[in-house]
Amino acid sequence: MSCAANFRKQISKGLTCSPRHGLLAKRCYSTPQDSQEKVLQNEDDWHTLQETRARQKHIMDRFSRLGSTQSRDNTWQPHHGLHKPPPPKDLTLSSLVAAGAHFGHSSSLMNPNFLPYSYGTRAGITIIDLDSTLPLLRRAVDVTRAIAARDGTIVFVGTRPDLRRVVNKAAERMGSNAYSVGERWLPGTLTNKVQLFGPEVAQTQRVVPDLVILLNPLANMHVIRECAISHVPTIGIIDSNVDPRIVLYPIPANDESTRTAELVAGVLSIAGKEGLERFREQQAAAQAASQRSQRRRS
């Protein structure tokens, strides 16, 4: 948290620092000389800037080896939520709390069907019971892994600007069999596939997926309706103002938090990846067995 506070202070001072480059990269570059107004007129000036920065970084790296053993490589960084999610077996209650998954909506807006998953009320909001979230998340993980192990196609749906990167990354991590929808889901994707994709694609390709994972189900009720019509199982992050019965495998958690979405999508994508590996192993074993039987016959 102190890292984030420091980072915000530097931004307010007007320093240019992209969040992706991290705090230490900027700290090791800034010197009193840099704050002066200098015009870089030719290539030599740019080379001087590069050399100065390389020297500063070298000094920082040398001194980083002294003192604290913590470094950028062995501590948690803000971008790890998206790029390095924990594997399902390492999923703990504290990681859910750290991601802010227990914050629900206002208690007055709580859906009565959500009561089994709520822990109580604090500061006017419903606190979600993470003791019920964790086993349900593990169940969703098992479902994802099993579907992927049977060569099933999985679609990650997250239709908010901050969820776009999350679903794209999750689909990328799983590789084949995974798809993502980061912007508005076109109504009729499953129920009107002939018109949307054309008759050839609708007949020759598997348009109807085998699993749909929704990171914001309340905004995508039409997706849920289409999945119900097309008999597609759904997993969804259910907040306290949502009826948990709309999806087949609800995960009661905070749907407004990006970090929770990163955690859930990350964990499910890793499970899907494990399932795909199992499928490939089974295929390889089946192929080897058929080859052996062919040889025996010949």
Binding site: G14, L15, T16, C17, S18, R20, H21, A25, K26, Y29, D34, Q36, E37, K38, V39, L40, Q41, E43, D45, W46, H47, L49, Q50, R53, A54, K57, D151, T153, V155, V157, N168, A171, E172, S176, N177, A178, Y179, S180, V181, G182, E183, W185, L186, T189, L196, V201, T204, Q205, R206, V207, P209
Partner: protein, 349 residues
Amino acid sequence: MSVLGCSRHVMKQASIYRAYATTTSYVPPAADISEAPSGPHQKLKPGSPSFYTGRQNYQDQIRGLESAANLSRLALKKMHLLPLPKFAESSLPPAQTAWKSKITLGGMIGEKLNTSRYRKVTSILNEIDELRRIAQAAGQQTLEESIADVVSMFEREDKETVLARGRRKPVKFDEWGRSYTVGKRKTSSARVWIIPVKAPPPPVSSEAGPMEAEDHAAEAEVTNEVTLGPNPNHSSEPPIPVTTSTILVNGSPLADYFQHPADRERIVRPFKIAGLLGAYNVFALVRGGGTTGQSGALSQGIAKGLAAHVPEVQEILRKSKLLRRDPRMVERKKTGRAKARKAYAWVKR
């Protein structure tokens, strides 16, 4: 016990006359495992991860461009060029981009683009172009070329023409060192040729200096060296050689063509403000309009020519609005009015 046995008998009797049609228990069709699919899937899986967005080609293009931008940023970060300090941002060469049109880009991507999607694509392209400019300014040629390869696919074919549209063309000088410029005011237009007056040789002998350069064949030879008389306050000082210039308008000298002192002043003003009085000879052809229009057109033409000969003077001429084409034109007469603004006499009834 007899009561129970009696009731059981009643129940058995009742069961013979059943109210339902089937005798076997009902099994819903979903649980019928004989219909469960077995074996590998027959149909192909969709290829692109953006298949379910409905805009597969566009999303794939966006993904590709974003990954190109990320890779470029990573490469620049390794070279310590990113994050860029604020003072370096102003040292970057300005962005000169001309992307393909919405329709062309849509054809390239394979999907119709609406304005918001086109703007998204161009915004990412502008980001990538900024990274290319950083690499270019720092002299990293290989990286700049690889980024330019990505970006050049989306640039217009006639990019240079489009970028040169707003730019003023530089004034050309011919083999004698004359500049040719055009000035306009109201309905008059002036074509102005300016040539620098040759500096006189150092005053070794008392004889007159060499001739100036000719503007046109019609011009008579005029010595432009004039020596001022002895200064009564400083009699010991040598005489100061001063050059004079000639201004010919439609073949006539300035004083003959423009009788009104205001017109003459308007023409000489650019020289005065630039501090180049007597340094340049001018030959001009003016057409159209009246005296004010022609003198104003000449003034602009002369100012442009002086700015071409002496670029340092451009700033001061621009500030004094002499380089500006005066946009004021004669306002048209309107119906219901005697002239453009003059109204007819107001009558009470």
